[in-house]
């Protein structure tokens, strides 16, 4: 069994469970939608204001839904002690991490794909004027967030206070990626030249690499001790 076959099997299993139950997508979608709608009523969203705050509102909606995704994904493994069954499989244990991470990322990207057009309609701000750059910003921001989040979810899944501990541990660690993603997305929405925003793109890339390498190195110990 190769590493990639292990990752593929775990992602396929998670997708299959989600297609059947639709628990994650429906919950995260509703949560994101509520966030976007509440911000729309809470602030004065005249054209200028809306454009300035668009990236912040969008990323708040994305991140809350991402946090829900990861917690739910690991609860499936906690039920009936399925995590032990995964750990017993003859695969590199980092394949479990990458499998869980990729499925969470797919769910988060799906929610982002649904919520972005709704945001555009509600706020009357086209956040996708430069679609490739914005998609890259969304993808890298989500990847960094989910990478750290998957690791934290693995640590906190067996804690009684996991709903509190997860975000408490996650948000400080993931702050650089969140700030960079908001700045890059916001700059694109405000029509700033991409050259001026490259510093944020570099921050996103560097932190993504660091998070992925650290997660790959420590995941084995984390799931054993948690």
């Amino acid at each position: 069994m190769t590493f990639f076959q292990g990752v593929k099997a775990i992602v396929a299993k998670d997708l299959s469970m989600e297609i059947r139950g639709k628990e994650i997508i429906s919950t995260t979608f509703m949560f994101s939608l509520l966030t976007v709608v509440i911000f729309n009523f809470a602030f004065d969203m005249a054209e200028g204001n809306a454009r300035e705050s668009a990236a912040g509102v969008l990323w708040v909606a994305f991140l809350f839904s991402g946090a829900l995704t990861m917690n739910r994904g690991f609860m499936y493994e906690k039920d009936e002690d399925c995590m032990s069954a995964l750990m017993l499989a003859p695969i590199d244990r980092s394949a479990i991490f990458f499998g869980k991470m990729l499925s969470s990322l797919l769910f988060m990207l799906a929610t982002m794909t649904i919520i972005t057009p709704i945001f555009i309609l509600l706020y009357n701000v086209n956040v996708m004027e430069r679609p490739l750059w914005q998609a890259l910003s969304f993808f890298l921001g989500a990847t960094g967030f989910i990478t750290v989040g998957t690791l934290i979810a693995a640590i906190s899944v067996n804690l009684r206070a996991r709903e509190m501990m997860g975000p408490l541990l996650l948000l400080p660690v993931v702050a650089p990626v969140v700030i960079a993603a908001v700045k890059f997305s916001g700059g694109l929405i405000m029509n700033q030249p991409v050259e001026q925003l490259m510093i944020w793109m570099k921050v996103l890339l560097i932190f993504n690499v660091v998070y992925l390498v650290v997660a790959w190195m420590v995941f084995d110990n984390i799931i054993e001790e948690s």
């Binding site: 775990i10 750990m87 003859p90």
Partner: protein
């Protein structure tokens, strides 16, 4: 079992495992040979499950060593040995959102089984779940989940079977299937190690008994010629409890 020339299949030496200030396993040494059938008895909190999880490679000991066929695997429990282990716990280790067949197919793929569909169908038939194969297991009774758990543990034809209180909560049908399966595994010279509180069942299907108390091995003996009633009396004397 061991002819003295070959290394034991599994050997733990002076193994210690702590959780904070609690010493769950305290200096345990144990040898298990190919084809051995060992039952571990002990009161709640004796460290049996922790020892089991060390044997399965799910956790690493703080002290001591663990070897498989003479190779030290204390800190690097390789993929090769995991492929040889089937683990049945009192939890089913199956996904309640998937059907019985989907669960078996998933684990068959994880273990690189050559023909997952054929294997899943054969195991579902063996544990009597063919008629419920496509139902999600959230609708299953405890006994049915445990029968599926047996199938899951055997999906890759392991030669070492670890059973952690496998009879807990089983209905009569599931208990008979499990006993029958263990009997077949015994005939195939598979090695199995079982933790159970059911002394009569444990003695009936094992060749060697280990009693673990407060993290330590308090007694070991062969089951040949062992009188269950006398053993039960000795067991309760060792663990310091009353036998009603």
């Amino acid at each position: 079992m061991n002819d003295g020339n070959t290394a034991p299949l599994i050997e733990v030496t002076d193994v210690v495992k702590r959780f904070g200030k609690v010493v769950a396993v305290n200096g345990v040494s144990l040898k298990i040979d190919q084809g051995d059938a060992v039952v571990i008895f002990g009161p709640n909190g004796a460290g049996k499950t922790t020892l089991f999880r060390i044997l399965a490679g799910l956790i690493r000991p703080d002290e001591g060593s663990l070897s498989v066929e003479g190779a030290d695997v204390t800190y690097e429990y390789g993929e090769t040995i995991r492929h040889r282990i089937g683990y049945i716990s009192h939890q089913s280790m199956t996904y309640t959102q998937l059907s019985a067949r989907e669960n078996l197919l998933f684990f068959a793929r994880l273990y690189g089984v050559a023909d997952p569909d054929e294997k899943a169908d054969a195991l579902l038939k063996r544990v009597g779940l063919t008629s419920r194969a496509d139902d999600i297991t959230a609708t299953f009774s405890r006994g049915m989940k445990q029968r599926l758990s047996i199938a899951r543990a055997l999906v890759h034809d392991p030669d070492i079977i670890l059973l952690d209180e496998p009879f807990t909560g089983l209905d009569q049908h599931a208990a008979e299937i499990l006993k029958d399966t263990l009997s077949h595994l015994h005939d195939e010279r598979k090695t199995f190690i079982m933790v159970t509180h059911n002394i009569r069942v444990g003695l009936a299907i094992s060749r060697r008994v280990v009693v673990q108390v407060a993290g330590k091995i308090a007694m070991t003996c062969d089951t040949d010629g062992l009188n269950p009633d006398e053993f039960t009396e000795r067991y309760f004397t060792i663990v310091g409890g009353k036998h009603y």
